[in-house]
């Protein structure tokens, strides 16, 4: 990301909103929100969200950085894109919520209990980096165990039946993970991208 997020000194200090505008994908459209509620009303698991997209946008305007970045809204987006295509102001709502989630992760707002996505994503990137592909089996395992050994085993066992079914159906293989050939190339590319990202 670019310049660090400015601290907000007072309510409706717009510096946070404007930082989001510059640094979050789709953020440039966020201020167009007219607070109609279609996005939050369209969300399949909106009930799992404390604020929902609409209010989140209002809170960004109000400069409520902490509340926004620690909000459960960011971690329960199923990426169904209903809000995105329905928004009467053409705001890419999904992208902004996901963008804010990325920010929250970077800024260390992702706390284990609440924010499993973050760990899932981490596990996922581990796989992507190491093999260039997602090995669902390993990602899931790594994800489970990112909650600690006990929790990991618990979750693993809970899903054992499913896993076995998958193995039986040939949809989960045993043995070495799938991998691309030119791993070094991919590593270099991702590394560079990450570097550029942090530079902005």
């Amino acid at each position: 990301m670019t310049a660090a997020i400015p601290a907000t000194s007072r309510t409706y200090d717009l510096s946070f909103a404007r930082w989001v505008r510059e640094n979050v994908k789709g953020g440039d459209k966020m201020n167009l929100c007219m607070q109609c509620g279609v996005c939050s009303g369209s969300c399949p698991i909106g009930s799992e969200m404390d604020n929902g997209p609409r209010k989140t946008f209002m809170m960004v305007r109000a400069g409520m950085k902490d509340e926004v970045l620690s909000s459960t809204t960011l971690w329960n987006c199923t990426s169904c894109y209903r809000c995105y295509v329905r928004c009467p102001r053409g705001i890419p709502v999904t992208s902004i919520i996901q963008g804010l989630a990325a920010v929250a992760a970077k800024e260390g707002y992702a706390d284990k209990e609440k924010v499993s996505n973050y760990y899932f994503s981490k596990a996922f990137w581990w796989s992507a980096r190491s093999f260039g592909k997602t090995d669902e089996r390993l990602v899931t395992m790594k994800y489970f165990f990112s909650f600690g050994l006990v929790e990991g085993i618990k979750r693993a066992l809970a899903n054992l039946k499913i896993a076995l079914g998958m193995v039986k159906a040939g949809r989960m293989h045993i043995g070495m993970p799938h991998s691309i050939r030119n791993k070094s190339q991919l590593k270099a590319i991702i590394a560079k991208a990450a570097e550029l990202e942090s530079k902005g």
Binding site: I45, C80, R82, T94, N117, F120, S127, I190, L196
Partner: protein, 303 residues
Amino acid sequence: MSEKMKVTYYPGCSSEATGRHLDESIRAVMPEVGVEMADIEDWNCCGASVGHIGGGPLPTLALNGRNLANAKKQGNEHVMTPCAACYLNTHGSNLTIRDDEAKREKVNEALKAGGMEAYEGDLKVHHAMEVLVNFVGMEKIAERATNKLKGLKVAGWVGCQTVRPFAETDDGGNYDTYEEPEFLDDITRACGAEAVPYEKKTNCCGGSVAVMKPEKTLHLMKLLLEEAEKAGADVISTPCPLCQTNLEMYQDAINAKYGTNFHIPVVFPSQLMAVAFGMDPQKDAALQRNTIRAEKLEKLAKK
């Protein structure tokens, strides 16, 4: 359409695991309707639906940049993927690379670091379903469907990312609507099966959230199953590998939680096509890979 269409094929990671039967059936049926596929050389993951969080936007963009650059090398303007998430990321990245100069430069810088040539965003990314709608056409499918799936009741469940937000195609216009797409039922009918009315056509199963925290999304999948049952469907047909896996593997959990007794097979349209085309139920339709076997469909399959 021209008799033959050449596409560079991007199977996506699930094609080697949970989505194998999608990959296998797509590879089987596409050539039958005049679509020639060649895989993207040494393709990598697209970033799926959570990549952006851990990795951030630019690395995700770079992942897709690499795939597209490789596809470009193969000299064919059409890229096709059967996976909703792959389509979303590849298509979205392609647009960004095409329209956002700053990002394009960064991506290309990253690609350069990997010793790759720059990519300008001049390929066209299609979802396999869009190819069937816009390039193949239902007539052709119906024509090829010699083994009509008489009496099979199919609930067409499109899900989300197959049409949202990119029902909008690289050739301009939408290949179907965001809320009430019809292509899936059209395919069902082209295969000679009955498309039962299915209101929750574009409802969400929970996607990756379902993988991470099923407890939060089981009610969504329950709704989808109820609707299918109400409609008297023998099978649910969905183009999305994650949707297929979720709805299939969580039925036990749903039954346990809600005291229901769901046992509804969830198949891919390409599996329906393979059977309707009279192809091999195992090798081509990969019906053995459904953990909830679609017996009725299997019975219809040519032995």
